[in-house]
């Protein structure tokens, strides 16, 4: 092992970039699981589709990064509506396992389809001009774009959290998570709420995909690759805890970066080691309420 403080700090900052993606994705998963009781294994695919949508908007229509940040989540959200209404809706009365199987199958199917259309290789997506360059932090040169991802990712997650915890809309969501029947008996159309929640959760993944496009390889497997780590994050944080998923996502990104600096060989496994330890010590996860 080699302790070079600058290297450690540098890797941790970069780890925070991954952490921001983990947070955005596990936040969406948590919201969806909390209300719908569905473990959305297709989440990574919506992240990947977000990146591909940004790529296509740019290639076909010449629409750049900033408009894509608005347009893509709308497109992915609309797709989420279709998926919820045609497929997921019929599973609510069944065991969680069916939702898991369906979304996993859906993930394979969509990923396969994208691979057929675009091929397996990574596609280029450029960093927006306004975010080119880097800032000297003393211990490292941090590209502006990565700084943007961290800051925007954290702001995005905290805004979603604030909406859920502090607004009447969020109160409806929390109430429906507690007792959907009663919420519906008060005159709220819960089936529509479930649809919109699924759409919002996957739209978040879509935004993540756009943000990832300039720094990750835009390829059909990008969703699966990241979502495996994200599921570990969710298990560590505890299914269904909104704030827990944000905090855990960021913290594990930092941990991954730290490990990369001190013991690079372990950096891709450290999160899973933590997962095993947490599962043994606290099976519900660090912030989890549910079994």
């Amino acid at each position: 092992m080699d302790f070079n403080l600058n290297l450690i700090l540098g890797q941790m900052v970069l780890g925070l970039v991954n952490g921001a993606f983990y947070a955005i994705l596990s936040l969406g998963l948590s919201i969806i699981f909390g209300l719908l009781g569905v473990i959305n294994f297709a989440h990574g695919v919506f992240f990947m589709l977000g990146a591909f949508a940004a790529y296509m908007l740019s290639e076909v229509f010449g629409i750049g990064y900033w408009p894509a940040l608005i347009l893509v989540p709308l497109m992915i959200g609309a797709l989420g509506v279709v998926v919820e209404v045609t497929l997921i809706r019929s599973l609510y009365k069944l065991d969680h396992l069916y939702g898991l199987l369906l979304t996993l199958g859906l993930a394979f199917a969509i990923e396969g389809l994208i691979r057929i259309v675009f091929g397996p290789q990574g596609l280029p997506y450029s960093i927006p001009d306004s975010l080119r360059g880097a800032i000297n932090l003393g211990f490292m040169f941090l590209p502006y774009y990565r700084a943007w991802v961290v800051i925007a990712g954290i702001i995005l997650c905290l805004s979603v959290w604030l909406v859920i915890e502090r607004t009447p809309l969020g109160a409806k969501l929390r109430a429906a998570t507690d007792n959907p029947q009663m919420v519906q008996a008060f005159g709220i159309n819960v089936p529509v709420m479930l649809t919109l929640t699924y759409a919002a959760g996957v739209a978040l993944a879509g935004i993540g995909g756009v943000m990832a496009a300039p720094i990750m390889s835009v390829d059909p497997a990008m969703g699966t690759n990241i979502v495996i780590v994200v599921f570990a994050v969710v298990v560590i944080g505890g299914m269904g805890s909104i704030f827990g998923s944000i905090l855990t996502g960021l913290a594990l990104g930092l941990l991954e970066g730290f490990t990369k600096a001190v013991f690079a060989e372990a950096s891709s496994t450290v999160i899973f080691v933590v997962m095993v330890i947490v599962l043994i010590a606290r099976p519900r996860g660090l912030f989890g309420k549910m079994a």
């Binding site: 009447p168 109430a175 507690d178 029947q181 919420v183 519906q184 008996a185 005159g187």
Partner: protein, 230 residues
Amino acid sequence: MLDIADLDAWYGESHVLHGLNMQVPDGKVVSLLGRNGAGKTTTMRTIMGLMGKVRGRLSYEGTDLLKLRPDQVARKGIALCPEDRAIFPSLSVHENLMLPPIIAQGGMSVEHIYELFPNIKERSSSRGTQLSGGEQQMLAIARILRTGAKFLLLDEPTEGLAPVIVQQISRTLAEIKEMGYTILLVEQNAHFVQGIADIHYLIENGHIVDRLEAGEFEKNIAKVDKLLGL
């Protein structure tokens, strides 16, 4: 008016309501008295559209409620205060109060509700489930007064509460009745409903066995006590 005729309802295979008949006229308080398991809560759930399998007639102001989803029933101006009170644990007292959407004009203002239930005002930032049983019951009633619903379904509002709280709820109901609300009041406490209901229905094994006007209640009290197993 709510008109129930030949109503049957099932939980899965188990047949719980058997040809239920009752009417709740506008502006009246109607009690539904019966023992544990008689089918009182099931009647409420059926009205609210929460039962899976039902048969018969159930109309409110001429609309067939059996065709509607629970949220659509609520939009007709019918509101439920359930037996378990269903205070949402993730919401503060104030959020619980504000959760049900306004479905018609003429609901009570929050100020008026706080006047009626000062305890709730004091505890408005607490978690809903940190309230005492009596306070939770008041919150559950208060919650449906804001929405403009004119037809209230109250399922055993006095269950498990101390006599002073029961008195307070009794005074509140008298006040609500005065304002012209229609109330279907499920109870096992005959004394409590005696002071407030205009019509009493007695239910046993999922059907109505008797209907008493307020004036006839006293001389039939032995029958009521027997029905309630007292």
